[in-house]
């Protein structure tokens, strides 16, 4: 049995990727199981999906704790969560990144393939749909599943030209890995991995990570400070100080209280801003632009 853990952000398609892997494996006569980590759906939040593939029906029903493969759909995720947790000694990591893996932060040593899945997706779709390139790359790395089965799974899910585009992107991910100069890079544990399992609020009390439970599950105020939701962000609001007059409209509309006015200037708290872009839309002076986090 092989076990795969997919890390992505809500809305990115980690769950779909897991599902399509089982479809692809099933078409090759294998059995499989795909399921998401259970919780409320949150766009942009780190999510996980799990896959098991085997020659016989999969019976166990728990999360993948010892993955053979870790597939990471967003290169900022290793900053926030321990994506390498439990990776088997001979396990392999795939990450969507145009940057060399060694320049990212990692919680452990591991062999990592960097797949330019976003670049491939922008070329094929004009949108960052990273799944097909990542699964195509996985097909090139593992002998468990063929590229053709992956392409067929996409084609069945997205009939017609969209399926063909997915097939093309999968091919490009596959071809990338097979280039003679593309090898897994042995990354090492970074000295400071930001945010991994750390509560950032010094005054967090009951209900915050690492604190005991209240007997009636009453939670202290401000414990949400311990959840740095800024990690959910794809894009960040950038305030042009010359245009902003400190009117405070953005403060009124921010659903996460992540904006304040200091000396007639809007200040964004990037620790908690989820990058929804409402502030940018409501600003009557056009002082707030949304900038890609990738940049």
């Amino acid at each position: 049995m092989i076990e795969i853990r997919i890390h992505g952000r809500g809305g990115q398609g980690a769950v779909l990727a897991a599902e399509l892997l089982v479809h692809a494996a099933f078409a090759e006569g294998k059995f499989g199981q795909a399921f998401p980590a259970f919780g409320g759906e949150r766009r942009g939040a780190p999510v996980q999906a799990f896959v098991r593939l085997d020659k016989s029906p999969v019976r166990v029903r728990y999360r993948v704790y010892r993955p053979d493969y870790v597939v990471i759909l967003d290169r900022t995720l290793p900053d926030m969560i321990d994506v390498l947790d439990g990776l088997r000694p001979d396990g392999v990591v795939l990450i969507d990144s145009a940057r060399p893996p060694a320049t990212l932060s990692w919680s452990a040593d591991a062999p990592v393939y960097a797949i330019p899945a976003t670049a491939i997706a922008m070329e094929v779709f004009g949108q960052p749909l990273v799944n097909p390139a990542m699964l195509g790359a996985l097909a090139a790395i593992t002998s468990e599943i063929s590229l053709l089965s992956i392409q067929d799974a996409f084609q069945r899910r997205f009939p017609g030209s969209l399926g063909e585009k997915n097939g093309l992107a999968a091919q490009m991910g596959y071809d990338h890995v097979l280039k003679p100069d593309v090898l897994p890079v042995r990354v090492t544990r970074s000295p400071h991995v930001r945010g991994v399992g750390q509560a950032s609020a010094p005054d967090a009390g009951l209900g915050a990570p690492g604190h005991p439970l209240h007997f009636g599950l009453v939670v202290a105020p401000r414990t949400s400070l311990a959840y740095p939701t800024g990690g959910w962000r794809y894009a960040r609001p950038a305030v042009d100080a010359d245009i902003c007059n400190g009117c405070g409209l953005c403060v009124a509309f921010c659903p996460d209280s992540s904006l304040t006015i200091v000396e007639k200037q809007a200040i964004v708290d990037y620790m908690y801003c989820k990058g929804c872009g409402i502030c940018s839309k409501v600003c009557s002076r056009g002082a707030i632009a949304m900038m890609s986090e990738e940049g």
Binding site: A18, E19, V22, H23, F26, F31, G32, Q33, A34, F35, P36, F38, G39, G40, P57, V58, R59, V60, R61, Y62, R63, Y65, P212, L213, H214, F215, G216, L217
Partner: protein
């Protein structure tokens, strides 16, 4: 004999397909995670004309249960589904359905009950109907969920039964998993499940009163009849599974299923999706030399006391994996297992240890089972003064408050 087509799909889709194939006339539900996908898919099937049924989107679970109660009373096949708080809101109506002997089939997609507000699977929600007269079947995988919905209508509508029947499937673990499942052709389902022929139903041609008042002159006799009906359903649960096997060549057990229990020293008893993990654990632990076996309680009500007694009485120790607790006493399943084994001859009566594992959705892994078996062995060897009735497996002491309330 192996009929139908295997394809990969979400557990909820498989359940929706099973319900569709059973041709209910009325479906009513109110959405709640993790049941939502099932009823969304059924609503879509009705909207697209694939399923000829009345789909009533209710304004609450109480209304949904009331709609199917009313519809069932007119003598048609009905279906609903819910979870957690939603099931609890149906409680009053479910008791009514059992008393009025209306064979509604419902899915309980198991989810913890607030407080704490959460989405994880455990059995507190469906267990709250333990004493209602509702038949309860717990399933371990998507195939069993599909097959058991077909069987549930057959059991519920049997003229010797006529009781609401609930298929309990662990939320997310089974509703949201994507795996291969064999879906039967409509003609085969029709061959297995004939149209519902009601015995008692509301019709203007033969006016009658449902749910009428009684006093102490006959309520006791009424309860006696209800008890006979629920107990009588045991044979029908077995029959539905046997017929299913004869027609389609597969079985998930009748009232119970056992795996390696015959010669086991330690037998683990469980219900629902943890059973799959336990099967794997039995194989792993047996390879390591431990004589471990498994009994799956598939039908929780009526409780298969005799079957559990026969399957477990050869063991030295029985460890019950409970996903629901009667606070102030012990695990709900453990209580029933003990009651069943009390009637075994003293020489064949194993030590019974209740464990709270999988409770609140805490995952049961192979290592969890290893720990459970270890504790059971310690109890056997007398290393524990007495087996604890409520072993919370995997408890994290660091999360417990230093001082209690007040």
């Amino acid at each position: 004999m192996t009929r139908g087509t295997v394809s990969v799909m979400e557990g909820s889709m498989a359940v929706a397909k099973a319900v569709k194939a059973c041709r209910p006339a009325v479906i009513s539900a109110y959405p709640i995670t993790p049941q939502t996908h099932i009823i969304e898919m059924l609503a879509q099937m009705v909207a697209q004309g694939e399923l000829e049924a009345e789909y009533v989107r209710a304004d609450s679970e109480f209304s949904a249960a009331s709609v199917v109660a009313g519809a069932s009373a007119t003598g048609v096949r009905t279906y609903t589904a819910s979870a957690s708080q939603g099931l609890l809101l149906m409680t009053e109506v479910l008791y009514y359905l059992a008393g009025a002997r209306l064979p509604v089939v419902l899915t309980g997609t198991n989810r913890q009950v607030s407080v704490p507000l959460g989405l994880q699977p455990d059995h507190r929600d469906t267990m709250s109907f333990r004493d209602s007269g509702v038949i309860q079947l717990y399933v371990e995988n998507v195939q069993e969920a599909y097959d058991t919905h077909l069987q549930a209508f057959k059991i519920a509508e049997d003229h010797g039964v006529l009781l609401p029947t609930m298929v309990c499937m662990d939320g997310f673990v089974l509703t949201h998993v994507v795996e291969p499942v064999r879906i039967l052709d409509q003609v085969d389902v029709d061959g297995y499940l004939p149209p519902y022929e009601p015995v008692h139903y509301l019709t203007p041609e033969r006016p009658s009163v449902f749910g009428s008042y009684t006093d102490d002159a006959n309520t006791l006799e009424f309860y006696y009849l209800l008890q006979q009906a629920v107990l009588g359903a045991k044979a029908k649960v077995e029959l539905a599974a046997r017929d299913f096997r004869a027609a389609f060549g597969r079985s998930h057990g009748g009232l119970i299923d056992s795996y390696g229990a015959e010669d086991a020293e330690v037998v683990v008893i469980a219900m629902g999706s943890t059973v799959g993990t336990l099967r794997e654990a039995v194989d792993v632990l047996r390879r390591e030399g431990a004589k471990v076996g498994l009994i799956k309680v598939r039908c929780f009500r009526p409780f298969p006391a005799e079957e559990v007694r026969q399957a477990a009485s050869g063991a030295d120790a029985v460890a019950v994996v409970d996903r629901a607790m009667s606070f102030g006493f012990q695990g709900v399943l453990a209580t029933d297992v003990k009651a069943a084994l009390y009637d075994a001859p003293a020489a064949n009566r194993p030590v019974v240890m209740g464990t709270m594992a999988g409770f609140g959705g805490r995952e049961v892994t192979i290592d969890t089972v290893r720990e459970i078996v270890k504790v059971a062995r310690q109890a056997l060897d007398g290393h524990l003064p007495a087996p604890d009735d409520s072993n919370f497996i995997g408890l994290k002491p660091e999360l417990l408050p230093v001082a209690g309330p007040g």
